[in-house]
């Protein structure tokens, strides 16, 4: 009797596998779609700013002013161009997006430099993108500060801040985003795959034939999850691989550990999909629920883009329900910090607990009759 349970689960798993294999077009889409998304978002979601167009209005034409301009040219953040037109034309410069910042150097720079304690330099910054404007202002300050320090040896400042940026010394935002994207793509795809698997059988009527057989809900649920775990692992490896190769993310931790914990995350996502599948009556509804339940929470509540600690308290509590929150701890920890399993026990256990709970609820919710 015990072996017949196994036969039933395996019968389902095999059947699901055949469904997948007989539909190579869908299979191709399933594999290509997340790769495309990863490449697209990976390059688009870039918070670093480089080659900012700066227009310099040098009214002084002195050795000193040229030295200031040289300081800007030396920085990789700026692309410097001299502006010699009318001052009234500066507005058009911003509107045509030929400059995002304008530096105005007064005509009497030399005179002021010799007789005044401070020389005003004016920066006009395009703040239509507020985040970029803040960064540009910081860069400008930095350049001017460097200039000040190299030209005033007597200047005594009480503190000199020196910070060491750990784990991501270049502050590359791809290191931050690519793991998040992996978390997002894996959960969306995995939940989608299983969410339509039972509803499809409700729609075609084959579920009726299954319900009159002695299979139990647990056989169906496990049998349906099993083949997708295999697929999830393949897709997961592909996404991780492309993420590392394409975005040159350093890998400091254990590959095996990341693989195993990714498997756990995929299992959680598949279990979510199965639960949706047992409740929804049509594939369309199932797909919509799956998308809503995975995309928005993962984007906004997992710490993918917005830090959890700066969220309203209610949302912080809600974020505990989002599997990606835990997976992000795992994936960022392993690849950037080289965390080991004992550092990641908490998120790993939560994901395991979530999977078991979701599967149990699915089995409980599964109706063995055709009652509404």
């Amino acid at each position: 009797m015990r072996s017949s349970h196994l036969f039933m689960i395996l019968a389902f798993a095999r059947k699901e596998l055949f469904h997948i294999l007989h539909d190579p077009r869908t299979l191709a889409i399933i594999f290509i779609m997340p790769v495309m998304q990863l490449i697209m978002f990976g390059y688009a979601l870039n918070m670093e700013i480089q080659n900012v167009d700066i227009a310099v209005v040098d009214m002084s034409h002195s050795p000193l002013s040229r030295e200031i301009v040289r300081e800007f040219r030396g920085s990789r953040f700026f692309t410097v161009r001299e502006y010699t037109g009318e001052l009234s034309g500066l507005d058009a410069l911003f509107k045509k997006r030929q400059a995002r910042v304008v530096l105005l150097i007064p005509a009497d720079l030399d005179v002021q430099f010799r007789h005044q304690p401070f020389v005003p330099l004016q920066f006009l910054i395009d703040a239509s993108d507020a985040n970029a404007a803040t960064l540009i202002r910081n860069y400008c300050n930095q350049v001017v500060m460097n200039f000040n320090q190299s030209h005033n040896r007597q200047l005594r400042l009480p503190f000199r801040v020196s910070s060491n940026i750990l784990f991501n010394p270049d502050m590359k935002s791809t290191y931050f985003f690519v793991p998040g994207l992996i978390a997002l793509l894996l959960i969306m795809l995995s939940a989608l795959l299983t969410s339509i698997s039972i509803t499809r059988e409700k729609e075609t009527g084959t579920l009726e034939q299954i319900l009159v057989s002695p299979v139990r809900p647990a056989h169906i649920v496990l049998g349906k999850v099993l083949p997708y775990v295999v697929m999830g692992i393949l897709i997961g490896s592909l996404i991780l691989l492309i993420g590392f190769v394409l975005f040159q993310i350093p890998f400091r931790g254990s590959m095996v550990l990341l693989f195993l914990l990714t498997l756990l995350y995929i299992l959680t996502a598949l279990s979510m999909g199965i639960l949706i599948s047992t409740v929804a009556q049509t594939q369309q509804v199932a797909m919509m629920i799956a998308q809503m339940a995975t995309m928005l929470p993962t984007l906004f509540l997992s710490g993918f883009i917005f830090p959890i600690s700066s969220m309203p308290v209610v949302l912080q509590y809600l974020s505990y329900l989002v599997p990606a929150r835990y997976y992000l701890l795992i994936v960022r920890g392993i690849i950037l910090k080289g965390s080991a399993l004992h550092h990641l026990l908490f998120p790993a256990l939560v994901l395991a607990g979530m999977s078991v709970l979701l599967l149990l609820i699915s089995v409980r919710k599964f109706r063995m009759t055709l009652e509404g």
Partner: protein
């Protein structure tokens, strides 16, 4: 212990205000081919679904193979085969994959599935098409294959819900030959149909209208009683008489 394969007593099923099955009492003996006739919406499918455990009865009593439909539906499932009007095969799986799956969900061992599969393929002359996708089979073959899949675990009781709908007359005749061969081996067959000439193939028929059984006997006795030469005429006569009796009944939505 009763010796009846299927036994119902005042079995009813309501859907809200609509009474789909209204106090049906039946006794189907082991090895009998029992036909269930009636126009669409008469309640045949609802009755069969209650007996298979797919729907819960609203009231009444029923046993299948001696097991109670309320309490022992899991045991019933081991003893019945069921084939629905929709021939529940997976169109995107091959003939062989379909057979293997249905064998598997009944917990049959690999060897047993294999043996039953080869048997089935050779009786259906489908051996050459084992790797063909089921959706590419002609309807008659699909129907025979669906029946075969429903019988892989050799159930003593077989429920067939309009198994011949949409199939051409020659394939229907072939199908009934299979059913009779199966019944001769002691399998009880409970079949619904709306083809009246198929009633002739049954040992006994129940005619259902508006959820009630309005006539129940062998085709021969029914023809004698109503003095008609075919079941088609018997059926029309009964429905006319019934229609007159039930003119105050509301049409089901």
């Amino acid at each position: 212990m009763d010796t009846y394969a299927v036994l119902t007593e005042k079995l009813s099923r309501h859907f809200g205000d609509f009474v789909a099955v209204d106090g049906v009492t039946l006794r189907v003996s082991t090895g009998e081919v029992f036909g269930f006739l009636g126009p669409n919406g008469a309640g045949k499918t609802t009755l069969i679904r209650m007996l298979c455990g797919l729907l819960k009865p609203t009231s009444g009593r029923a046993t299948v193979g001696g097991y109670d439909v309320y309490r022992e539906s899991e045991r019933i499932k081991q003893h019945i085969g069921y084939m629905s009007q929709r021939f529940s095969l997976y169109g995107d799986l091959t003939v062989q994959e379909n057979i293997d799956f249905y064998g598997g969900i009944y917990g049959l061992s690999r060897e047993r599935v294999q043996r039953k599969r080869e048997e089935l393929l050779s009786t259906l002359h489908l051996g050459r098409y084992r790797n063909l996708l089921t959706r590419d089979l002609p309807l008659g073959f699909k129907q025979r294959l669906a029946l075969g899949c429903a019988m892989l675990h050799e159930p003593p009781i077989l429920f067939l819900d309009e198994p011949t709908s949409g199939v051409d007359p020659a394939a229907r005749r072939a199908f009934w030959e299979v059913i009779h061969a199966t019944a001769r081996q002691g399998t009880t067959i409970f079949v619904t149909t709306h083809f009246m000439e198929e009633a002739e193939y049954c040992h006994r028929v129940a005619i259902m209208n508006f959820g009630k059984v309005v006539a129940l006997d062998s085709p021969g006795s029914l023809k004698t009683r109503y003095q008609k030469s075919t079941m088609q005429e018997v059926f029309v006569a009964i429905l006319q008489q019934e229609g007159a009796n039930s003119e105050f009944r509301e049409e089901p939505a």
